[in-house]
Symmetry: C2
Subunit: 530 residues, 2 copies
């Protein structure tokens, strides 16, 4: 708390409250002071005063594990991290040209991207309210840039609408709002909301609907300057003698509904995907690398944990040094285990039956991501699409245009597939080359004629074949939350679990970090009480 | 047309069509090939073959004038630019720390911003479909970065709603959509749309409304996980033992309507403000400077035009060298005049009565912009607001958070006022210091307690007091367009006008550039035919 500048500011006070009372007290104080509740993050934890010589072994050098190690070392613990991969970051990871990656099944891909280009197989965007991620990015010097989620010029393809021709989000969204506004206005006129909305409120609502929906003076959403001001023009406004614009024609509303644009709305407007989003400059993996620098010297890479024992007043972790094949042991007073549950359930774990049941109870989702490098940014120069996402009802589900390096020249990597559900297993069952070819084929619906012509090379990651996670992320449901969640996150004698699977922000880095902070805060308390 | 790579691509063909047939033919071809009509820009003009020794004097080194000079010189003309200011760019302009600016009336401001910080008094954002601006930014090496227009965490203040307390766009927008969806669904149930929507379509529409509006299973927009997934949480999802989230409570719908959030929607979704928008790294003035480099040596700065004569087979421009007070003359075969109409109407202009009437017929709008430098980016660190705009019904109309340097530390400049209409004249009537104080007072509604506390210094530009434009931009209406527009843009013997005022994209740089390209294309044709 820096009071050198005079009277304490509200920020100083909040910081002091956080330091003295911890996250939950700070949270209440912020609420009382009228702060929006953007996050449960209340600043870095204050974990000083570890007993001399106390030690912690952290399993996994993903974000949760590295944050635990970083903060516990600051608190005075002797810390060691055991990590299977030969790099920090875990699922926080970018694949660059020259990298190679071998998946389960043995297929190895050598990434062919041009210098600086990348695919983020895992996380790829950071919401503005993921305060923990943003805090540590700033603290660890990770440069961020905007991630473009919503782009009005991006496309929506639905095989059941518009004869399978992709249309712009701009036109579909304009037509959705416009028709909804016109219909609701008509319903008010038809007394369809009598008893729900008073006549006076109905009139005021209609005025708002007119502006919102770009209706004309007769409350109709029709071809004209109003609708064109949102959906665009057949001939856009220009300069000189042909400057006068010509409006475009709204689509048939039933086709608009069939396109599923309302689903895209729900995507873009969802709390986790609202503007402003961020990404690290140079790839999401920059975060893992920055965390890795902070714990340099603490990590034993290429080490596969085979057994976790906590008898005899200590935690003993048995692991195999992958390069040499030799078996080794790490011993500490406590353990923070961030190993994904699908892997952990296959490791001999000396813990309560409840914890072991919880570990076994939560399945992992699968997802496949494909990066397609294109020779040029033709979507920018030819279609005025800068970043953002084009959606389709095909198995690839979407393609995303790079938010980095916009308006520059040279080759660039499109996220060519981001599959969910059954489509993921179908893609995972293919060879990497087949996945790339399939993504290229399916994505051509957005840019027919250009997509294949501009294609240069591709890389595909199927998370179910990832040797270090065996899946994408933990899939809790209402029943498993009820039966297993509190057991999973509780300190189990000398061991505590952390990671996105130990949070309610599953699949997001923020969940991993918040889980880690909560876990080490409780472990530290346990250690001081021991 | 580069055919070295093999068969001509569609792009090659379009380029060839543009070169051979000009903009209008290219436009038709693009339409026929299924290109979205994003712009009337069809690539740089092809103006080769000027008669040896032919010369053009360009009045004004704003973007329109500099582009005209750049392209006409390429075509072979001898070009000279006469500019009143001592810098290139005109209204494209950034004020940096150390700059000083004297407005009409004599008030001089010395800008106090920290190094690198700036206010853009004029243009400040570039839509994705302003293809001419984007083309020349790329060609002239202007680095661009995203401009954040829509930000869900930004605020909306309306003195008539919520007791004058600003609320987040996120919550208001979620509640607007949700209530509209619920009402329309109810109206369908109440048969309020019988005869408009079939029963089957009504059912399908309801399913879409449920997803779009975040309705629950009973088609209600109520407190719960659905609405919270968009509007946010009282306790957001977290990690560990307190991970479970607590939903927030939707606002009363009549307050939401009164807030005018539907007006903000219309702003953000309008064609000219849709995602993705851009700004130059380091200030909008970077564009003017980059254009200035391209015409280096051609510009006579500090020169005030007093008379334009086109008798005797040439154009003779009389101007005063402002520094010395001496009168001088520039002579050329033709003239591209980009002087704003409010200034031009005060200059002796030897042109047809029709053109002179047109010049006199178009009034200029006024606007005041205020830059407020704050000691820290408290809106980012404390309120999770990164870029974007907070709206108010107070005279300042909005404040905008900087899109540049997001997540960095140190002082930053907020656009503290962007006035329209009568409010602009009220602000223009104040001293610059009073404008800054008033903007600070009014903007405090968004960040009470913090705004004044963090304020460091400010700068205010009132366009009605700008010596080089006497206003903001040309205000055409339906009648003046009909009576004067074609006369204004026509080549008048040896003179042609260009600028945003000679376009249908008024107040935008794109209008100035497209107008310029159209004007010089016709002037060149006239010169070749002469």
């Amino acid at each position: 708390m820096d009071m050198a500048g005079g009277m304490p500011t509200r920020r100083d006070m909040l910081h002091a409250i956080g330091v003295l009372g911890g996250a939950s007290v700070l949270y209440q104080a912020m609420e009382a002071m009228g702060h929006a509740a953007e996050s449960q993050f209340a600043g870095p934890p204050n974990l000083s005063g570890a007993r001399p010589g106390a030690s912690v072994v952290v399993l996994g050098a993903g974000l949760a594990g590295m944050l635990a190690a970083y903060e516990l070392r600051k608190a005075g613990y002797t810390v060691e991290i055991i990590e299977y991969n030969t790099r920090p970051g875990g699922r926080n990871w970018s694949l660059y040209g020259g990298d190679s990656y071998t998946e389960l099944g043995g297929a190895t891909q050598k990434v062919g991207f041009a210098k600086g280009n990348y695919l983020n197989p895992g996380p790829w965007r950071i919401p503005y309210h993921h305060r923990t991620v943003l805090h540590y990015c700033k603290a660890f010097g990770v440069a961020l840039e905007p991630f473009i989620q919503l782009n009005h010029a991006a496309l929506i393809h639905n095989s059941k609408a518009f004869g399978g021709k992709a249309q712009s989000y701009r036109e579909l969204a304009a037509d959705w709002d416009g028709n909804v506004a016109e219909l609701l206005s008509k319903a008010i006129d038809n007394k369809g909301l009598n008893g729900v909305v008073t006549a006076e409120d109905g009139d005021r609502l209609k005025e708002a609907l007119r502006t919102w929906g770009m209706l004309d003076k007769d409350m109709r959403y029709v071809r004209g300057e109003h609708s064109a001001e949102r959906r665009g023009w057949d001939r856009p406004p220009g300069g000189g003698i042909n400057g006068a614009p010509i409006p475009s024609t709204p689509f048939d509303f039933s086709e608009v509904r069939k396109s599923g644009v309302w689903r895209a709305f729900a995507q873009h407007m969802g709390h986790e995907r609202q503007t402003t989003m961020f990404q690290p400059v140079g790839g999401m993996g920059m975060i893992g690398q920055a965390f890795g620098k902070q714990v340099e010297g603490l990590v034993r890479y290429g080490a596969k944990v085979t057994r976790i024992d906590q008898s005899g007043g200590a935690v003993t972790v048995t692991y195999t040094d992958v390069a040499s094949g030799t078996q080794r042991i790490a011993k500490a007073d406590y353990c923070v285990c961030t190993i994904p549950l699908g892997i952990l359930s296959q490791i001999e774990l000396d813990a309560s039956a409840g914890l072991r049941a919880a570990v076994a109870a939560v399945p992992y989702s699968n997802s496949v991501k494909v990066g397609l490098e294109m020779k040029t940014r033709f979507w920018e120069d030819e279609s005025a699409i800068y970043g953002g996402i084009s959606f389709t009802d095909k198995p690839i589900s979407m393609i995303s245009y790079p938010s980095g390096g916009m308006t520059s020249s040279g080759p660039a990597v499109i996220l060519g597939a981001y599959t969910f559900g059954p489509a993921s297993y179908k893609f995972a069952g293919m060879t990497p080359e087949q996945r790339v070819a399939e993504a290229l084929e399916q994505g051509s619906v957005f840019h027919p004629g250009r997509y294949k012509e501009e294609f240069s090379n591709g890389t595909a990651v199927a998370w179910s074949r990832s040797p270090f996670t065996l899946g994408c992320c933990a899939q809790w449901n209402e029943d498993t939350r009820k039966e297993h969640y509190q057991t999973l996150v509780a300190v189990d004698d000398r061991i505590v679990l952390a990671g996105e699977h130990a949070s309610y922000i599953g699949c997001w880095m923020e969940g991993a970090l918040l889980s880690s902070l909560d876990a080490i805060t409780r472990l530290h308390k346990r250690a001081l009480e021991a």
